[in-house]
């Protein structure tokens, strides 16, 4: 019943869509679902590349069987041991007991730890090759993109990079898996959110991996999440390069605010007016109580400017803003233009702590942070407007 989907001669897409899961890693919203990709190469040695989340193993095994029609798998390449890709290894091993697992030393430590599998292993190191018959795979280590054991496999006749999580994105693959055959518009924001949340901390290792990949002639990128990239492969690599250098994609400002009774929100309006008054069009305002942190984090990767507003809450920062700050610090985001504002009723703390955050991150503090007591009147509104203007002027100076 499954249509066999071919990437190249005798290379099949056998991935699955997860439209049920609400939260990736049990905390990141999945409004458009996610795909777990796996690829099957039919050659003298029948070779499977990565597996899928165990919750979809029945569909997955049936897809494999539709291609194999009774034959057995010789090699399972494990590029990444995270359970969304490695989850079906145990079941595969039961169904195809003679398969050899190909990985590196770190893979095998995890394989033993998660599955108790420690035999029929084929260890590969940086630059090692594995002949499958007509085709040959070459392996390159890509540690911390996004776990330490991650590696990628390069198929040199059709110039296909099996890239593990690198170049992956949230979002199911609908109908066809190949970028040229589908409208890819929905993926770009979700790819950035995926990168920011999953790989965002590991900019330096991602740069190391990109340098290795740059030496290869890659025509097709087969990631473990989202479409297969052929037509858009250069754009995808460029984006990953930009994000892993923590370089903003475009001019603009994210304003993330928390507000219990609307006063910090009023300052937000003032700041935003100041920014657009300087001719900056991209102003994106997030109420942290309404929008999940992952979407805000994604736009912080996108834009150069960031302004955070928070009321003082129990002598500190509003809890949901604190969560955002933690997410930013954890990713080590560099080179942002930053400022902040806040309000309080009897003793101000949030604005001071938000101001100190610039130093924590090593960011330039733009303009004068605004701290407002109780309701917002004309003077503080004006200060908020001027803070926005200062950010707008700073961004214009970079044009």
């Amino acid at each position: 019943m499954y249509n066999r989907k071919t990437i190249a001669d005798n290379i099949f897409y056998v991935g699955v869509n997860d439209r049920q899961k609400n939260l990736f890693e049990n905390y990141l919203p999945l409004p458009g679902g996610v795909a777990y990709n796996s690829y099957l190469i039919i050659d003298e040695k029948i070779t499977l590349i990565d597996t899928v989340d165990a919750s979809l193993a029945d569909v997955y095994l049936a897809k494999i069987e539709a291609v194999l029609q009774g034959r057995a798998i010789d090699y399972l390449i494990v590029n990444h041991m995270e359970p969304d890709h490695a989850g079906s290894i145990g079941l595969l091993k039961q169904k195809y007991p003679n398969l050899q697992i190909v990985g590196n030393r770190k893979t095998f430590d995890m394989l033993n730890g998660y599955f108790g599998i420690n035999t029929q292993l084929h260890e590969v190191k940086e630059g090692d090759t594995l002949s499958l018959g007509k085709r040959t795979l070459t392996f390159y280590m890509a540690p911390m993109v996004h776990w330490p054991e991650v590696m990628v496999a390069y198929e040199n006749s059709d110039k296909i990079l099996f890239s593990a999580d690198a170049f992956g994105t949230f979002g199911t693959v609908d109908g066809d898996y190949l970028d040229a055959c589908i409208n890819t518009d929905k993926y770009w924001d979700e790819m950035r959110r995926y990168y920011a949340c999953i790989v965002g901390k590991f900019g330096a290792p991602t740069q190391n991996a990109l340098k290795k990949i740059a030496t290869l002639d890659v025509q097709i990128i087969c990631s473990t999440h989202g479409p297969v990239w052929k037509q858009e492969r250069e754009k995808v690599v460029d984006l990953y390069d930009k994000w892993s250098r923590y370089e903003a994609e475009e001019e603009g400002v994210v304003i993330a605010f928390g507000s219990m009774y609307g006063h910090t929100q009023q300052l937000t309006e003032a700041v935003a007016e100041g920014i657009t008054a300087e001719g900056i069009k991209n102003v994106v305002i997030y109420n942290v109580s309404k929008t999940d942190t992952s979407f805000i984090l994604s736009d912080i990767f996108r834009y150069k400017g960031l302004i955070i507003g928070s009321p003082t809450y129990m002598g500190g920062i509003y809890p949901l803003i604190e969560q955002l700050l933690f997410s930013i610090e954890h990713r080590g985001i560099k080179n942002r233009l930053y400022s902040c504002f806040g309000s309080f009723t009897w003793a101000g703390a949030a604005t001071k702590q938000l101001t100190a955050f610039a130093q924590t991150m090593g960011w330039e503090l733009v303009g004068t942070p605004v701290e407002n007591k109780q309701a917002v009147f004309a003077q503080k509104y004006q200060e908020g407007f001027e803070l926005g203007q200062a950010m707008g002027q700073k961004l214009k100076s970079l044009r």
């Binding site: 770190k106 280590m141 540690p143 911390m144 330490p148 901390k201 590991f202 330096a204 290792p205 190391n208 080590g332």
Partner: protein, 52 residues
């Protein structure tokens, strides 16, 4: 003194060295070669901080 990789959390312990990379036990962090890389995630020495 032990040093921690800020990227992956690996701890370099001078008492243990890094034998897989040819670093003998007893080698201080300062005496590691400049081209030594984190055995877990592959970043350079500049990505390490003293363990608190």
């Amino acid at each position: 003194m032990k040093y921690v990789c800020v990227v992956c959390g690996y701890v370099y312990d001078p008492a243990a060295g890094d034998p897989d990379s040819g670093i003998a036990p007893g080698t201080t962090f300062e005496n590691l070669p400049d081209d030594w890389i984190c055995p877990i995630c592959g970043v350079g020495k500049d990505q390490f901080e003293p363990e608190e």
